[in-house]
Symmetry: C2
């Protein structure tokens, strides 16, 4: 079953809004084995919307369309569907009544423009909207299924999960391909690929793909469907082969995040963490605390942006900063030791560096970063030259510091 997602909205096309609906819908459809082959976005112009819908209905078995169901004149999705499928718009009295009821409950008069939201193409099956005003609908035409949902992310998500997926689940009898994702840090895509090509035994039945992102590479193994038992054996063998290639660069599988992996290790070892940041500006603390339950192992983060803060709060000796500079391996180590002590923690990690765009020199260029770790009986530090802009340098430095911690904990 091939599917296409169409997201409608001029705010998407101008780049003002990041289209998050597609990602959500794609994940959910993939999860039930409905292969998402195409995604198209288009603005609120009737003509280009109609063209896009025609193309989708030609090539896909299932089309999920979001956006353009609001009450204002720029919301034209219902009109476009009506035109393309040749079905007149009819007023649905019970939907109209329930929209009126929503306004009554809020003690507000319903503006007459809201009546449009009760219009549906002839033959449409209503998809109820429990969290917003505009219901969606399902139309069947020539063996094709067209689901139309509102563009508000929360509404689209709830309606997809509660109403669209159950309807589709019965229809996706053929399961899609199985996928295993291995997440790595500190190793290049082409180095992994080369190591794969040098394997003694080729990977049987697995297609490999590489997904480099801001600070690491995800290795995806895709297994074509087949006899469950057979697939499972092949899968285990192939995953084992690739894992042996990745070694300690592998930090997790699937959606695992570096900060989650580190958090679990800290919990299991009953250790408390403190973080001292300069070039990463608070990003490491933010990543760590984004994990629910982080208060069990995270005690203190210090963003020491001035030399005074490094000295006063973290106890980095003034002389050391004077001699080696704030961006140095020695200062990084003192920062990690200092924050560990100040936070009464068992481990401290730190970053210092030049995030740019200004502040670089020939000796200490933009992208020069030191990450360090301090534990009870040990310190370690690493010098990095990180390519990228300010945001990427901070993101990558954060990942390298977390990875230094991960390897220490292993």
């Amino acid at each position: 079953m091939k599917s296409e997602v169409i997201t409608v909205g001029s705010e998407i096309m101008s780049g003002r809004t990041l289209d998050t609906n597609f990602r959500f819908i794609a994940r959910k459809l993939s999860s039930i084995g409905a292969q998402v082959v195409w995604h198209t976005s288009v603005g609120d112009e009737q003509e280009s919307m109609a063209d896009v819908l025609r193309i989708a209905l030609r090539r896909a078995d299932v089309v999920v369309m979001t956006g353009g169901l609001g009450p204002t004149p720029d919301d034209v999705t219902r009109n476009v569907v009506s035109t393309v499928l040749g079905r007149n718009l009819l007023l649905n009295d019970s939907v109209l009544e329930s929209i009126r009821e929503r306004y009554r409950l809020r003690g507000v008069h319903m503006p007459s423009i809201n009546e449009r939201q009760a219009l549906f193409p002839k033959g449409a099956e209503i998809i109820e909207n429990k969290v917003g005003a505009a219901p969606g609908f399902l139309l069947k035409s020539d063996e094709k299924l067209l689901f139309v949902l509102p563009g508000v992310p929360l509404e689209a998500e709830v309606m997809l999960e509660q109403q669209v997926l159950p309807k589709l689940r019965g229809l996706t009898s053929t399961l899609g391909p199985e996928q295993v994702v291995l997440r790595t840090v500190g190793i290049a895509e082409s180095v992994i690929a080369e190591r794969v090509s040098f394997l003694d035994k080729p990977l049987e039945g697995a297609a490999l793909s590489y997904l480099p992102h801001d600070y690491g590479v995800d290795v995806c193994l895709t297994f074509k469907s087949g006899e469950p038992k057979h697939v499972d054996l092949r899968k285990k063998a192939a995953v084992k082969q690739v894992k042996s290639i990745l070694g300690h660069h592998l930090y997790g599988e699937g959606d695992a995040k570096l900060e989650e992996v580190v958090g679990k290790l800290l919990v299991s070892k009953k250790l408390k963490l403190a973080v001292a940041e300069s070039v990463t500006g608070g990003m490491i603390s933010e990543l760590i605390t984004s994990v629910p339950g982080a208060s069990r192992y995270f005690v203190l983060g210090v963003t020491a942006y001035s030399d005074e803060s490094k000295r006063e709060i973290l106890g980095v000796p003034e002389q050391l900063i004077g001699e080696k500079g704030a961006v140095s391996k020695e200062v990084a180590v003192e920062m990690a030791k200092g924050v560990m002590k100040r936070g009464l923690a068992d481990v401290g990690i730190s970053t210092t560096g030049i995030a740019g765009p200004g502040g670089g020199s020939a000796e200490k260029p933009v992208g020069l970063v030191f990450v360090a770790l301090a534990a009870r009986r040990k310190t370690s530090a690493k010098e990095l030259q990180i390519p990228g802009n300010r945001a990427l340098i901070a993101r990558r430095a954060s990942a390298f510091a977390l990875d230094l911690l991960r390897r220490h904990l292993l």
Copy 2:
């Protein structure tokens, strides 16, 4: 000039990766008046890629394609372009040499699969990649322009800005509609819409749209093109009308960010800032330091996740935490005062709250947040009940704290 953006990648289609390239490209193309009418995403399968490219070249004048230029076998964009346009792939020696050079500089042997990245369809103009390995290319065919860029966001962005836009700028003679974006925080979309409907004089020649995002609403005024002088007068009048409605909720125009606005105010007033965070976990520090030059006004950030840290580093009295709880207005105020003192700063801001999903109670539910500000002769604090998940609560709390600071500085 109508344009289409094609983003390629199976990781996009499965929903694993959020496609941020499209948004960036759409913004940049719109900014030079090149109307983005279509956006299509497709996986790494040659056949569907070829179909999508054929449709795009039929309907658009300019096509920008990203992704699938990597060295591994799943990267097939160059092959698809070669097939669709009937142009053989040729090896470019100087590109091959520069890829080799990249590896030499890093002291690493170049895997032979990287040679593929030096293959280009006949007649292609190379688009240099200064931040990564794979160059892009431009092909002209039947008055159409096809730009092909790598999928790594940073690389695509730099190449688009530095090489694609200059090439296109000469070609976009017809300007698109003008748009003014007013950014607000702390006021609901429907409240703004109601105030607009109560205006004495209707907005002349401006179409209004509302774009709510994570922590605020952007109000977009779109002006149809016309006689420049006429448009300019109408524009000024309409923008003035809307600004009067928004009042102090308006924090900037266009792409202005709250943390940039606050940074500029701190620079102009020559004030130093320190931040104490609990529920926001370092996010405020990270936002502030994401602005280049933040070291001129930002001195210290403390993420005090444990009661000990609040006491030891920020000097919050133990008794106060015992009596009022760590999540209280009083503790928020003491955190702001403490961090201001410890950082030798002129202003301190703070957050404390319950981010969830656990840790809430009937008295102090998830989403309860206190933000506070301390200055030389003044403190202020605000209680908030923020809807959303852990990430959104932190994001919104950060914005409210920054807004508290902004209003104090005004």
